[in-house]
Amino acid sequence: MLEISGITKTFNARSPNEVRALRGVSLRLETGSFLIIIGTNGSGKSTLLNAVAGTFIADTGSIKLAGKDITRWPEHQRAKLIGRVFQNPFSGTAPNMSIAENLALAARRGRPRGLGWALGHNLRSSLRDRIRALNMGLEDRLDNAIGSLSGGQRQALTLLMASWLKPELLLLDEHTAALDPRSADQVIRLTHQIIHGDKLTTLMVTHSMQQAVHLGDRIVMMHRGQVLYDLHGPERARVRPEDLLNRFEEVRHREQLDPTVAEILRRNYV
């Protein structure tokens, strides 16, 4: 279970460029649930995921995962519990190393790394099997540098790497946004397979209303560093992509009002 309580994060505090990226976000995520986060650009979705992953330590608030208080853990320590796929396909893999080596690195996520061989015989054959299951023809290219693959292939591998050792929490930040539609579909199918197959607790950010409605069991909409809507249960079951778009329109409309009115509205609304 993931429990985020009242976390805030301000970038460049007390400077002209001050950005209050998170203004008190609280979320409880049951084990095995799959939460989709949507929201306008700059609403703080990535910042929320980064706060959970430990890219930075939140200014205030606390984060608990799998019964442990990880609020002050450094990023590499949290990686024991968390698997992650970034928006940029270049972020999740080491380009000059081979496919097999990249996966071998992931096969020891959060575990001690000593002087044992990185690529034992067993590991090699088991990763060949799992890569074959991707149906991308990569199983014969295990020793090729990952940098030579397409963005879609890299994201598929990153997804495999993030979930190789079943994580307590999987973080996906618009992981198909940089891909062409065909590759995006392929990666989304794989995402669905892995999350359902392993019953992974997942936080996924997306700009695609289709993905939001068809994946996941709960939808959260963020705005200006806060949670604006939290759709679950029957409400979530009824929601259609158009409904979500309407909510975006609503927010946009409110933004266009006189700023003071908008502020009053926001205070009442949020």
Binding site: H76, A79, S91, G92, T93, A94, L105, R109, L115, L119
Partner: protein, 311 residues
Amino acid sequence: MTLLLGATTIGLILALLALGVYLSFRIFNFPDITADGSITLGASVTATLLVHHWSPWLATVAGFLAGMMAGTTTGVLHTKFKINGLLSGILVMTALYSINLHIMSKSNVPLLNEISLATQIEHMGHAAFHAETDVNLFGWTVGVRDAAMLLGVLLLVAMVGLVLYLFFRTNLGTAMRATGDNPQMIRALGVSVDFILILGLALSNGLIALAGALLAQYQGFADVQMGIGMVVWGLASVIIGEALVGSHRIGLLITGAVMGSVLFRLLVAIALRWGLNPNDLKLITAAFVFVALIAPALLRKLKSAPKPGPA
């Protein structure tokens, strides 16, 4: 012939320097210039211990460990105290100058009658070749000492290269390579980038100090000035090595760095023979590295530049 043998031997010894520089500059993309100080550190520690009648092997290992400590210091300055990488290296290198003087308690320690790896190899050479002074090697008459030294150093460097290659295939070694390749990714896989960087710089400077330790024994003295410009020297070797093997495979890159170092040393020896002023050596080395650094970008620009059309 003796000249070429000597140049090759020194090239092989400095291949360890090239491997160290390869580790910091290429694997971590970290411009670590501690090297200028740590190569002298290795030399001064080993030479001083030899004067105190330590066993040559122990003295050499001690030189290696001293280099590791220097690298660790640079790494800690950079990661824990957030000092710019280049500056961290400069600080440690500067401090090492005084430390080296303290270790040797003068600016130069000659190894006259001390037993060193060099004298041991020479003994083995006499025993192996059954000769007192000269030996016939592939039709050339060469000094026993020169031939034995070359073979001994070749064996040693090959061993170090092999160990390094094997290390890079372990869990820790692959994590180290990945840290340089994509720190964001390796952090997300649970590796402390700070720790790995410190470890890598320790290893790099250990290798560089080892080069210093061997060089002191080969040439028969340690000198506080011997490290000046060594980073650039190592970098030149690495660049030549990369051009020679033209591959990303770690085994080939290691071999390339060794070959680059030897080739560079041979070129220098030949140039000096042809009357190059030794004082210009560092200037020319720096110019060479400068050209090698900007050449790839320049070539790309030339290729993509629009062809001048008819006026």
